[in-house]
């Protein structure tokens, strides 16, 4: 019999919210809703459930997504299952004075670009790995990225662009962010973006998917 934390991780990985949702996934078995409550009743700490249950599940789905074993909708389902578990943990965290977050990640799709699915996927994965995410939305002007960084000193910043024609805005945003804080770590991504482009505009990291980005964030916050 797997431990309850392992079962929570499996439920997140499979996007199982509760016994009935979604019906075709792990039919009849409990989801993050039931399992998280049960774990709390068993006296497991909210921190432990978060790190060794929910986040572990998100990490696994992230790796599977990276190697094409699962696709966008499954990541969305896992994020929903995680959010359900988080609902039960939040009450505990507010009692104990808030949850520990390894860092803050500001993200947005650059000016002139309305694509948001890729960005939302990154948001879900980064959030699912315990970070605080500030999602500025789509068609985000350079000033708004800068303001968000000023309000959240030390945050990481991610920019997304899906059009060859909006990519150049990343260079402006990146430059303005570095003027505010020369040590800010910036990330760029989106279908037309390449590692060469990131280098050319002096962004710190290019990633071709959410999992790689999370891994970089984890290595940056570990030290």
């Amino acid at each position: 019999m797997d431990t309850i934390l392992e079962r929570i991780a499996t439920a997140v990985e499979n996007g199982k919210i509760n016994k009935n949702i979604p019906p075709r996934i792990m039919p009849g078995e409990p989801g993050t809703d039931e399992l998280t409550r049960q774990a709390l009743e068993n006296g497991i700490s909210a921190d432990d459930i978060l790190t060794n249950g929910l986040i572990l599940g998100m990490e696994r789905i992230g790796v599977k997504f990276k190697v094409n074993k699962v696709f966008v909708p499954q990541v969305l389902m896992s994020a929903k299952a995680m959010a359900m578990g988080m609902r039960h943990l939040k009450a505990k965290f507010s009692e104990s004075g808030g949850m520990k977050s390894p860092g803050t990640f500001i993200i947005g799709t650059v000016e002139g670009d309305l694509h948001d699915i890729g960005k939302n996927l990154v948001t879900m994965m980064v959030e699912g790995n315990g970070y605080k995410v500030i999602d500025l939305g789509v068609d985000v002007k350079a000033d708004r990225f800068v303001d968000a960084l000023r309000e959240n000193p030390g945050a990481f910043v991610g920019m997304s662009a899906l059009l060859t024609t909006t990519m150049p805005h990343m260079e402006t945003v990146n430059r303005m962010l570095k003027e505010v804080d020369p040590n800010v770590k910036t990330f760029v991504g989106g279908a037309p973006v390449t590692a060469d482009f990131a280098k050319q505009i002096k962004a710190d990291y290019y990633t071709d998917g959410p999992q790689e980005l999370v891994e970089i964030l984890n290595s940056l916050t570990a030290c």
Partner: protein, 509 residues
Amino acid sequence: MKYHKLTLYPDCKTISVAHGTLLSDILSEYNLQMPCAGRGVCGNCKVRVIKGTVAKNRRHKAVIERKHLDDSWYLACMSRIEDDIVIELPSNDMLINPGVTNPIAPCIESRHPAGIAVDLGSTTIVAQLIDLSTQQVIASSEGINPQTSAGADIISRIAFAMKSPSNAQSLTDMTRKCIGDHIYRLLHNHIHVGNITGVIIAGNTAMHHFFAGLNVERLSCAPFCSLTNGSYSYSASQLGWDMLQESCKVELLPNISHFVGSDILCGIQACGIADSDEWQMLIDLGTNGEIALGCRDSIFCTSTAAGPAFEGLNISCGMRASAGAVYAIEHEDEGPKLLTVAGDKPRGFCGSGLIEAIEYLLSSSKIDFTGAFIDSETELYSFAPDVYISIQDIREFQLAKAALSAGVELLLKEAGIEPSRLKTIYLTGGMGYHINLAKMQALGLFKDFEIGQFCKIVNSSLSGACANLRHTERNRIPEILNRIKFCALESDINFQEIFCREMFFSSIT
């Protein structure tokens, strides 16, 4: 300056090339297709180096590996010629004969008035010579849109045009020249030039702008808008089409909106949507996935970012529907039986073949309803030597299918119409005519409709352009445009939810 010998196999043609020249710069003159405009992303410009060496950097190696190709393959857009080399062009149809003339009726001596209708598509240009007294097609000419040399997708071409005024001008010039060449081929041997009364051109908004030589910058990013949606009239001599009489009028039809062009307007006319008492729908299974829904009272339309998968592009073994393209697959006891265009050896999949291949994988339990291979070690399935479907191809198809399905669902909701109320759903576009409806629905595409509601139409844009050769039809355009409402569905709050749900082949609930 040092020069090298570049030999192209199997043609055995040898060219002298300056040291350091990018291979794609040479091959672009041979119609090599580069959907990503040479950014080293799509892998479509792959060639095999048989003799000589070409440097391959890390990024280049990574793309080759991702495309499941062995070391002998190179991307032309990342290969500089620094040695005498012999290269083999890929066996599937990357080099496409740029102009195929397909005479339908033998040469006629008739003195009937005639007109020319042109469908200026992003990928393909088709021109037809029409006998105006009988509406009969006298001749047809078809070929690749030369703009593809600046990228397969429209945004790449817009980015190219925005780089310099001379780039923009070159796109306009090549488009006009290409249509002129088609007209020349149509007229050759067919009809007395003096009888041509007019030329009608239909296309999407970007094609409209490129043909007219308008600034495309505002089509490039949000807030999207077009410089103008109006129609343009030219005399043949203004366009340099001296095969026509100087006074022959050429008309570029008006767009519906910045996202939907006259190709869909023509489709609406060809399907009679504006005259119908009952609700009808037109779906263009192309890169922009336009959808129109309407009846006599009102017409709604939208476009979705389906991507070029339905046209066989951005697919590992994707190709146009030319000789050797797998267009259908039959299930037989010993495995899949591939049906190919012209019965040739299979060389790749066109849009309809892609649907049949994925349906085969699903119904024979090679993949599950989420699109993943059931055997977790598998990353691709080979149907024939060098003809396979990879997991990325399946994902590409899922994105296209989901975008169109979400578009149809949200447009119906916007109009407040139940799927069962539609009298007819016209399918058009690159593969609309060849699509197997049952297999399409088996993959969960347009599954809310009955098979009997569908009607396939070869090229509704061209049919509508032909109709517009008649003054009476053309004069109705302003009034029809007034009734069309464009809906931007991707900003709908439910879009992401529906889009994600529709990526699966069957419902998860």
